[in-house]
């Protein structure tokens, strides 16, 4: 009896405290809103937004609803995050491996990169790229082409645009290729387990993934045109490149800063992972006659990935959350479009901030759940 009281009393007190705090806030919010004559509700989402967004992946202008503006912001956030994740992984893996290099110069260069970029605030780095580095680029009319067909100018990065015809058929062909590769892999594994024969799986896979889409091109089902950027005069002194695709400088600065900053953390995860595989494992693998390539593929990587992936996903999550700093350089992401402009116009603080936070929360929780599931799946089964 005594024990039960001892466990119930603190719980009750905590619950009471939490309820009291939430209650206090709700009552005040109610009173405040009554006073200002606002009513709580999400009806405003279907109203006309009447503001424009500079950069949008979907068709949008002021005549669309606030809900659409929210979608524009969300898509822009996702775009930055995906680009950032791709680049930070590439840089991070290279730097992480470079930190383990036997070469003294490479090892230390990588170490200096990590030490410097992760000790400078991300916001400062974003400002640096946007206001200092990218502003030093030439005007469109004086720009020399980069890689022949792209133009890196102060007004943004102009790249060729692909104009596809029947793009969906290409997607289907790639899907078909992937499915057949999965079948062939399974067949090869079975063959090896039953008869000990090995198929050149990698060669076949590469062949299939090249041949299937190639067929659609050769038969003329899918056509591709490339629109190169062309210099165009807007007024006497103002030039841009038309026709091609233009990447705004805000997006460039943001992706650069986010990927260079997060790459330092990814690099540390990669380094820890590779170092975490014990030397005995490699020696044991070598002593049963595996080749160095097989050791890397079958022994080291599976174990290293188990250490690398969970913290790296955490870094990806951080990158996604950090992409909200876009608001500081006016890249129209979720925070700027929705929690900035839309909030200013409607004045609905509680609704809009709660939607914004819930969006990020959903993204994070979804990724963490996925992670936990993955972690459980790959965990070493021990007694």
């Amino acid at each position: 009896m005594n024990h039960r009281i001892k466990s119930i009393v603190p719980q009750l007190l905590t619950l009471l405290f939490v309820v009291a705090v939430i209650g206090f806030f709700t009552i005040n919010a109610q009173l405040n809103m009554d006073e200002r004559g606002i009513d709580f509700g999400y009806g405003f989402l279907s109203q006309e937004s009447s503001f424009d967004v500079q950069f949008s992946l979907i068709e949008y202008d002021g005549s669309h609803s606030y809900a659409k503006a929210y979608l524009v912001g969300l898509l822009n956030t996702i775009l930055v995050s995906v680009l950032g994740i791709i680049f930070c992984t590439i840089i991070g893996v290279i730097v992480g491996i470079a930190r383990l290099s036997p070469n003294y110069l490479i090892r230390n260069t990588a170490a200096w990169y990590v030490e410097f970029f992760r000790n400078v605030p991300l916001l400062l780095q974003i400002f640096f790229w946007y206001y200092a580095a990218l502003r030093a680029l030439p005007l469109p009319e004086n720009t020399e082409p980069l890689f022949g067909v792209t133009y890196l100018t102060v007004k943004g990065y102009y790249i060729p645009r692909f104009i596809w015809e029947n793009f969906d058929i290409l997607i289907y062909s790639i899907l078909a290729a992937v499915i057949s590769i999965v079948f062939i892999r399974n067949y090869a594994r079975k063959l090896q387990e039953e008869k000990g024969q090995q198929l050149p799986v990698l060669l076949i896979s590469v062949g299939i993934i090249l041949i299937f889409p190639a067929i659609t091109f050769v038969t003329g089902m899918v056509q591709l045109e490339v629109a190169l950027p062309v210099l165009k005069q807007l007024s006497k002194t103002s030039f841009i490149y038309a026709e091609g695709l233009s990447v705004p400088p805000e997006l460039l600065a943001l992706v650069l800063a986010l990927s260079l900053y997060t790459a330092t953390f990814v690099a540390e995860c990669v380094r820890a992972g590779v170092q975490g595989v014990s030397k005995g494992q490699k020696e044991a693998a070598a002593s049963i006659g595996l080749t160095p390539n097989q050791i890397l593929k079958l022994v080291v990587m599976p174990q290293a990935l188990r250490i690398i992936i969970p913290p790296t996903t955490n870094q990806y999550l951080n990158l996604t959350k950090n992409s909200s700093l876009a608001a500081a350089i006016a890249y129209p992401d979720l925070v700027l479009v929705f929690a900035g402009t839309a909030l200013m116009q409607t004045g609905r603080a509680i609704e809009i901030v709660s939607i914004t936070m819930l969006t990020y929360l959903t993204l994070s929780l979804a990724i963490s759940l996925l992670m936990n599931w993955y972690n459980k799946k790959i965990a070493i089964k021990e007694k």
Binding site: P10, T14, I106, V335, Y360, L361
Partner: protein
């Protein structure tokens, strides 16, 4: 495959190979050096791409010629082991040396040799191509103290010196006083700090003029925000970590909900909330200063991260520690305070340090609510019509400043980790 055995030294003819090889390496480095420092290029007669890669090719041949497993010469062996163990590594070595040679002269020129620091106006910088450190010199006080009135800067300085002084009091607590050291740092010190900052920096009494928080700024604001963030988010995080490991379901689920919520949202939206949403949640006549709201938001936010780090330490402790403490008849709090937490906290020093570093690096985000610390002041100075066009100098200055603070903090945490490492 081209047979390059001719380039492979043997121990018999190594002397000759060594002379020729190192000669070639030196020539390649010297070539890049001339190109970079004096803009001289001797191989312009060659076709463009060959001209461009010539130093690399010569250097690679040179490295190839001195690569021998055991040469007897200690320096050569060292070079072979560390930077020249295969062709790929030798190539990377050369690329890094060349890049350094190509980048350093313009950077040094810009930063030091052609830079200006004299004068008090923009005109002093008009004549040179280099950096304009005059800009930093003129704005230095603003970067340090924000818009705080110039005459009162001594108040900020005194407050910080006093805070550091009180932080060192713990070192002099000997004998009986030593039992109260935790109490001092956990409860007494935050109160003293608040009083000092409230009366000295904010002012309004004792004949000191009141300075509103809008005028605070610069590096001193960074310190104030991170200081209060650090001392309050730690105890809160500790309680949350214990809550998450508690056996009482209500407490556990509330802690989990709290931690997962704050970890799932970006700090910028939390600051937005503190500035636009939070006033709605208070009685209409209540007023909480912007700075306090921001600091509170940062504390609530970072506490969730601290909690997760400490939980890692708690989980890493073997069960035996809990069992042993319980079998001695310790109560829950006695067990946590005297047995579990001291060991767990020791384990998570690196993690805690990383969280604190993140906190310091996050302080620039308070620009969202209109407070400007160093980075905010930079943005303000950059748009000042008298000083347009010196953004780069400002960012470099601030990067070095933050880098130094964060680097010192991480080194200090490594020192602490070693100091408290008790096991073997």
């Amino acid at each position: 495959m081209i047979n390059i055995n001719i380039l492979k030294p043997t121990s018999a003819n190594f002397q000759t190979y060594l002379y020729i090889g190192s000669g070639l390496i030196l020539i390649s480095i010297f070539d890049v050096f001339l190109r970079s420092f004096f803009n001289l290029n001797f191989s312009t007669s060659l076709p463009g791409i060959l001209n461009f890669f010539l130093p690399l090719i010569i250097g690679l041949i040179g490295f190839q010629m001195i690569r021998l497993e055991y040469s007897g010469n200690r320096i050569v062996d060292k070079i072979n082991q560390s930077v020249n163990n295969n062709t790929f590594n030798a190539g990377l070595t050369l690329v890094i040396i060349f890049l350094t040679l190509l980048v350093i002269p313009p950077a040094l020129n810009w930063m030091i040799f052609e830079a200006t620091i004299s004068g008090d106006t923009k005109e002093a910088c008009a004549t040179t191509e280099g950096a304009c450190w005059t800009y930093i010199k003129v704005w230095f006080r603003r970067f340090m103290y924000g818009m705080y009135p110039n005459d009162f800067h001594w108040r900020i300085n005194t407050a910080f010196i006093a805070l550091i002084g009180f932080a060192f009091v713990g070192y002099f607590m000997r004998g009986k006083l030593k039992n109260y050291i935790t109490f001092y740092y956990a409860i007494f010190y935050p109160i003293i700090a608040f009083i000092i900052i409230n009366f000295l920096i904010s002012g309004g009494s004792f004949g000191l003029e009141w300075v509103e928080t809008n005028a605070w700024g610069g590096l001193s604001l960074t310190f104030i925000v991170s200081f209060f963030g650090l001392i309050f988010c730690f105890p809160l995080g500790m309680i949350l970590a214990l809550g998450r490991r508690s056996e009482l379901p209500v407490i556990r689920y509330i802690s989990i909900g709290y931690i997962e919520f704050w970890r799932g949202v970006p700090l910028i939206t939390v600051l937005f909330m503190s500035s636009v949403m939070f006033p709605m949640f208070l009685p209409s006549d209540a007023f909480v200063d912007k700075l306090i709201r921001v600091i509170a938001a940062i504390i609530l936010f970072e506490a969730a991260y601290v909690a997760e780090v400490i939980r890692g330490g708690l989980q890493a402790l073997p069960r035996g520690q809990y069992d042993a403490a319980k079998s001695l008849g310790m109560s829950y709090w006695k067990m946590q305070i005297f047995v579990i937490l001291p060991q767990a906290l020791k384990l998570v020093i690196p993690g805690i340090a990383n969280t604190f570093l993140a906190l310091v690096k996050d302080t620039p985000l308070i620009f969202v609510v209109g407070l400007s610390e160093v980075v905010g002041m930079l943005q303000m100075a950059k748009t000042n019509p008298k000083w347009l066009g010196y953004a780069m100098e400002g960012y470099i200055f601030a990067s070095i400043l933050f880098w130094a603070i964060c680097y010192a903090m991480s080194k200090y945490s490594q020192y602490l980790e070693l100091k408290y490492k008790t096991d073997r």
